[in-house]
Symmetry: C2
Subunit: 408 residues, 2 copies
């Protein structure tokens, strides 16, 4: 059960010059949509970030190579099969997929970026892709987000879309619409996570890449479900440039600042949706670490807490077992940690102070917070002013069930 999410999609603002088409090509065994194509207008610019896993999947390798030579005009995304760990055959299959899409849309193969998500290590069912691609292309439509966000799902229980219409300081009105998928193997440096964001804003390529990298760092690289990172993660940001406005060519311009803030908001909400739909999640947990000597220290502590199976099972049990949080802080590897200066709160309830349980802490107060669906664990290290926040879930029976049965 996703925490605080609904199966109802929000109102989605289409993005001019960005068309989406979906079909059920038969890659997923359950007959759900599994092939999505996004076509972009000829002035579109696209920025992208990818997994840092050394075993990156074939489509990631091909997408990077294509991005290096030209601006993309189409993305092709399949779910149900990751085309990862598939060696030379996988690379050939990814290139063939691009060629088929290019032929259908009158493009060069290098203008198409391939993406895959699903089971690792099986070859793409190329016959089904060949049949599906014309069907997906025939469905291309600027209203296509509704189907597309379902077509990229794997173990996700709900589709994930964020859509905003904003007015820039220059007076131009722009749209930002994004969709994402992912619910397990979620960790910084991307996860089995795909996200596609489009805007009609006019943005220079360097600024677009900067915006994507900065906002990814503060969103998708701050979430974790199980600490695993995937071979296939990718996030793209496409700006079709058809809005009536001057190009944003610097981040510190008035329009640039507002665009960056809006993108921060969209990306953070998309990333949090993945955590809220985390495999087996029953809690949405914010881990905020204040007063670090360095950002790195604060981040280490936040992720050590967020990854601890003992903290996560206690969260699942709604057990205010603050000792497990304290133990996680202690083993995070912060140098010169003064344990007497560390304080820990569950929401507004102080649970640790002066090297031990806070004198005024009561189990009832801790239990009250733990019973909630959404909980903030806040740690103050007493060493400096660096703050970092990550988002995570609990570890439930269903996490084990989903991952033990995924292939069967």
């Amino acid at each position: 059960m996703a925490v605080g999410l609904s199966d109802q999609l929000p109102p989605i603002h289409p993005v001019a010059d960005c068309w989406l088409g979906s079909t059920a090509a038969g890659i997923k065994k359950n007959g759900n949509p599994d092939l999505v194509i996004m076509q972009l207008g000829e002035n579109a610019r696209t920025a992208a970030v990818f997994t840092r896993n050394a075993f990156c999947a074939a489509p990631v390798t091909v997408a990077k190579a294509h991005l290096a030579v030209t601006q993309p005009r189409a993305l092709v995304i399949n779910s149900g099969n990751a085309n990862a760990g598939t060696g030379e055959q996988g690379l050939a299959d990814a290139r063939t997929t691009c060629r088929w899409v290019a032929e259908e849309l009158g493009l060069e193969p290098e203008q198409v970026l391939p993406f895959s998500t699903g089971v690792i290590g099986e070859n793409l069912p190329m016959g089904r892709l060949q049949q599906g691609i014309p069907a997906a292309c025939a469905a291309l439509n600027i209203e296509g987000w509704q189907q597309a966000c379902r077509g990229i799902m794997t173990t996700d229980t709900v589709p994930k879309v964020v859509s905003e219409r904003i007015i820039l300081p220059s007076g131009a009105e722009i749209v930002i619409t994004g969709m994402t998928k992912g619910s397990g193997m979620i960790h910084p440096n991307m996860a089995t996570m795909l996200a596609y964001v489009a805007t009609d804003a006019r943005v220079s390529q360097p600024v677009l890449q900067q915006v994507l990298q900065q906002t990814t760092e503060r969103s998708f690289n701050r979430i974790t479900v199980d600490g695993d990172t995937s071979t296939n993660d990718a996030c793209t940001l496409s700006a079709t440039g058809v809005a009536d406005m001057a190009e944003i060519d610097a981040l510190d311009s008035a329009d640039g600042e507002v665009f960056l803030r809006a993108m921060d908001d969209v990306m953070r909400r998309l990333a949090q949706m993945i955590v809220r739909d985390g495999e087996g999640a029953t809690k949405f947990v914010t881990v905020q670490v204040d007063e670090g000597a360095t950002a790195d220290d604060s981040l280490k502590v936040a992720f050590t807490i967020a990854h601890s199976p003992l903290v996560k099972t206690a969260l699942f049990a709604s057990d205010p077992n603050w000792g497990r949080i304290l133990a996680a802080v202690g083993r995070a590897g912060v140098e010169n940690l003064n344990i007497d200066a560390v304080r820990i709160w569950l929401d507004d309830v102080c649970i640790v102070r002066d090297g031990g349980r806070a004198p005024d802490y009561t189990e009832e107060a801790g239990q009250r917070v733990m019973n909630q669906d959404e909980i903030t664990i806040r740690v103050a290290l007493g060493m400096g002013s660096a703050q970092e926040t990550v988002w995570t879930t609990d570890l439930s029976y269903d996490y084990v069930k989903i991952n033990a049965e995924y292939r069967t």
Copy 2:
């Protein structure tokens, strides 16, 4: 269900000048033995290693301080309460416990080392300890290992003892007997892990400490259940020195080499018992990484695999989901990893070669290995000659159940 372990204890060789006494002091709610005292003869020497968690528990702080001033003559161990996160009160309680034992045995308080394991963050029930200590002392006996190994258990399902009698090159016959506890919060740099090993060998203090550190590094620091490290871990090695032999005062002496090998064997078997009894474990998994450029690289890969919730749930499901192993290798952070050079085996079945699934791999062959209770995952990095091995378990429903319900 512990993997490959039985509730039957092996034959235990008592260690001369090492007496153990146990009692049920009422610290555990279930009425099982929970207080153990080990008394050592006046010529005994003791080496110790402790948790590296910055939040070390009160008894760890006190034990370190006592070790700094004199040789221990007694250890006092309680289960059911960790006396961790208890601030000044916890330190005072640990010191008081030592004083009570010292009074009972005619020792100085500094000659007593305290150890605690159990729930974090609650004060020790001092009334129960005060009543229990005379009872435990009254039970002191060189045959006391049988009860003691049960008295230190928490979530363990079976007691854990290894006992060996060996003949040194000099002709002396010595005994090494050890007991350990721990089944969750298990990770290198110690875990919620206590281990007490005694021998009647005559060993100099520096050699004793060297032997303990080297053998701990190759045993307890190579096991992991859930990646959490505890505030209370400790391992002691006491040599009573009553065997008829010349003192071992160098590791490279003939007796020293044999003693070190015997200790390696005892420590590795004790450590593996903890993994075999890992919380909810249904598999005993050896992760061996060969051909690393450095030992650090090999160890990073081994622990990344051993900690991956996705690998661990696949093991629980007996699912040869080799893609998850490959993904873990890829994200371990090895620099300059050439993915085409990496090979991965499940026991003798090669699953990954040339950057993808081995051409001759079949699901049937993978499934055959996965159905076993004991599995070796072997990775060859193709970069050098450094080899490291760690031992771990799968991640099962019962792991979640045990840790979600531990305090309730």
